[in-house]
Point group: C2
Chain length 466, copies 2
């Protein structure tokens, strides 16, 4: 009993945390309750019920189906619902009139064929990619058409049936939209804006975290690649966030789609606000995040440059990273504050540090080449004991030997998966890979700055004069 | 008139192509039409209408809402619909009985409060991430509850109202499921299976395409990075497909969710088929695809290793790529044929080529280091004219100069985005980056083989004895 009480308390704590994280969730829930209550009052109170009749239950259905989290998607659903109902209503009335005039024998046949055709055509249109966002509209057309024409056939007078239904759907729609817009509106545009700003921060954090780990890690407590490639890297929270930005494209696109339906509000105060530019900026940002993923891959690769080689270039790598992350954060903050500041000086600084890094690698590139037929201490005089220990440990598992061993005993076992062997000799070049990817990240920042620049022009961000 | 006729014909051609691409689309559309027709017949024909009464229109609504593309998602929706309706029905009857016993004054108040609470709670539960897949179920609970309790209040006898409605919902559900399962069923599992196989092929193709371009490109007609980073690369169809595998995780997950609802069928003939393993394999495959994206980044980077350095290692790069792509394709084919073959020999071959590549880089690593204070022709005796021309062209845009120019004239222009300058001297190391990423790709194949192995064990793929 005690443990169940504890888990129940834990569950309540979790719900509480979930609500505190974003109070909009509570607001949305209360608004949802209010909207159905309002529309139910139309039936519970005698006066409106006598005016509208039992058709009014359709408004409840409309509210339950139309009420969405953001204003934009509610508008979008409402549009689908309204246009779908209207089209279906008109079509149903036309077909019903034609069927009526053909006499009582042909009437059900014509109605049956029309239902089949509407069902097949709307089902097909839903699959057509450009029309996929209006999937809900096609559902509405289908069931509204069927309901009107079928109940018209049984109860007569399809026009009155459909008008009554359209009225109540309209009432439901108006209630849903009013509650959603007038009481603590949750704007899709605002959500999109914050999501993009968060993505900028995630990429900057992940870059810094990854480089920090790269420079810290002395190889002594390096976990095996095999156990970590698919893991969540619990000690790298920023990486996790960065990875989630890679899969956020669908979310951002649907938010942008919803945001387009919203009227100007708050900070986004002019018509035709360029929401689709947000999606473009996020795409460029994703290209930067791909480089972070690649850097992360090098960090956890089995082939590692020795620690003391890495710290030789520590200053340059650190500088380039700090400046690049700073620029990404600065771009994110500019978007957050809907302002436009001069990026050229920061970008120039980032370029300068990247060039310094390239030049440092260039000048010391003799450190990167093979220790082939030379003792390692001649090439790298500062070699630490850690490295030597690691080096000698690696020599014991020299690949050619491993392959031979496998040849002898592994051939019969179908389950045996031989492991890739890294050649120690190319390990130094791993540093070049890391820095190249870092430089490539910086090169992609040009495009990011340009994309943010385009956005700030089209969205008419205020120009900040420092 | 003529141009409109032409565009109409073009549109028809496009629809035709869309249908031919996947005939399931036509089948789905016809099935959708058939399902609504069948359920409409219950009203159009006199006998069943007299049995079921006007409540039968709820079956039309149910079919229109429940009919989904795949069998699994139809089952899933049906489950949501059934359980939602049942819960809402029971709750509504209980609350209605309580309200009835409190007398005519309190009754509407209790009903109103209960509607608000159900609305708020279901709205909140929809947002709770673990319950998000059952979003539709909560909608069903909300509107069914409202409909039953409200029409029960107005028409009396909520039990009879709800029973009549549950009957007709059940009829609609049975029709939708029967048509969907019995007539040319479209299985989510089959779709998931094919999608994963396609992803394997895309990654293999993209890898080969990328390496082919890298070895072909002699730098003479190299498009500027700036114009291509965000482009669609029309000459690289495989890259485009590979990129789309990166964003396919949501699709695969929803297919796997649907597939779990499906009974054993065709090749997937045992219960508890491990659909979630498919998602895991696709995640590992995505990690390989990240490396392809990084390779693609190097291919289109501004900093490029000279052509003749690249062709020095052509054979080794080509071999490693061919073997790696072969292995990926082989894994894809095994999944396609639901068979399990011995991967160790192929994997060993891939490792051998990757090691040869590493050793080649290692032996010739002196080629990669700086040409610093040495004329380039001493370091690379085979330098072609193309490279020399490119090299000298680059020297004119030496970064320090560019930065100075910017300093003088760019400071006033807020729109000016300075471009990152690549140092020619580190260009040779770009080859090391490319090969490291390729080797890393091979290293990740171990995990891919392991993941496919796990899948084939859990899915009981037949073991192929060659």
């Amino acid at each position: 009993e005690k443990s169940s009480g504890f888990s129940c308390r834990g569950w309540i704590m979790e719900v509480w945390k979930f609500c505190k994280e974003d109070t909009n969730r509570i607001i949305f829930a209360l608004k949802g309750g209010l909207a159905v209550l309002l529309v139910s009052l139309l039936i519970l109170i005698r006066a409106p019920y006598h005016v509208f009749g039992s058709n009014i239950i359709w408004s409840i259905l409309t509210v339950a189906i139309m009420f969405e989290y953001t204003v934009g998607s509610t508008f979008n659903r409402g549009f689908n619902r309204a246009l779908g109902s209207l089209l279906a209503g008109v079509l149903a009335i036309v077909v019903a009139q034609i069927a009526l005039n053909t006499g009582p024998v042909a009437e059900p046949i014509i109605i049956g064929i029309s239902i089949f055709l509407v069902g097949a055509i709307t089902s097909f249109m839903k699959l057509w990619p450009p029309l996929a966002p209006y999937e809900y509209g096609f559902r509405v057309i289908l069931f509204t058409y069927c309901l009107i024409i079928v109940s018209g056939y049984r109860m007569g007078n399809p026009i009155r049936t459909s008008m009554g239904r359209l009225y109540s759907i309209a009432i439901g729609g108006i209630v849903a939209v009013s509650v959603n817009v007038l009481i603590f509106p949750i704007w899709a545009g605002e959500q999109l804006h914050q999501e993009l700003v968060t993505n900028f921060k995630s990429v900057a954090d992940a870059l810094e975290e990854c480089v920090k780990k790269y420079l810290e890690d002395d190889g002594s407590n390096h976990p095996e690649f095999s156990s970590t490639v698919m893991d969540d890297f619990p000690d790298e929270p920023a990486y996790k966030k960065c990875r989630s930005t890679l899969s956020s494209s669908a979310k951002l696109e649907s938010l942008a789609n919803s945001a387009k339906w919203e009227p100007p509000h708050a900070r986004f105060s002019h018509f035709f606000y360029p929401w689709s530019e947000y999606v473009k900026v996020s795409a460029v940002l994703r290209y930067c995040a791909y480089e972070v993923m690649a850097l992360h891959g090098v960090l956890h690769s089995e082939i590692q440059a020795p620690y003391n080689l890495r710290i030789t270039f520590q200053q340059e790598i650190q500088d380039a990273t700090t400046e690049a992350a700073e620029l990404v954060r600065c771009l994110g903050n500019d978007i957050r504050d809907t302002q436009k500041s001069l990026k050229a000086p920061i970008l120039k600084k980032v370029h300068a540090t990247a060039e310094r890094l390239q030049r440092a690698i260039d000048m010391h590139s003799y450190l990167l080449i093979s220790t082939y037929d030379q003792p390692p201490d001649r090439q790298l005089p500062k070699l630490s004991h850690t490295f030597m220990r690691k080096h000698s440990r690696r020599l014991h598992s020299w690949p050619s030997r491993e392959v031979d061993v496998f040849e002898e005993e592994g051939a019969n076992s179908a389950d045996f998966v031989p492991k890739m062997q890294a050649l120690e000799s190319t390990a130094h070049l791993s540093l070049a890979t890391f820095t190249s990817l870092l430089v490539e990240f910086v090169a992609r920042l040009d495009h990011l700055v340009e994309a943010v620049d385009d956005l700030s022009k089209m969205a008419k961000f205020k120009i900040q004069t420092a």
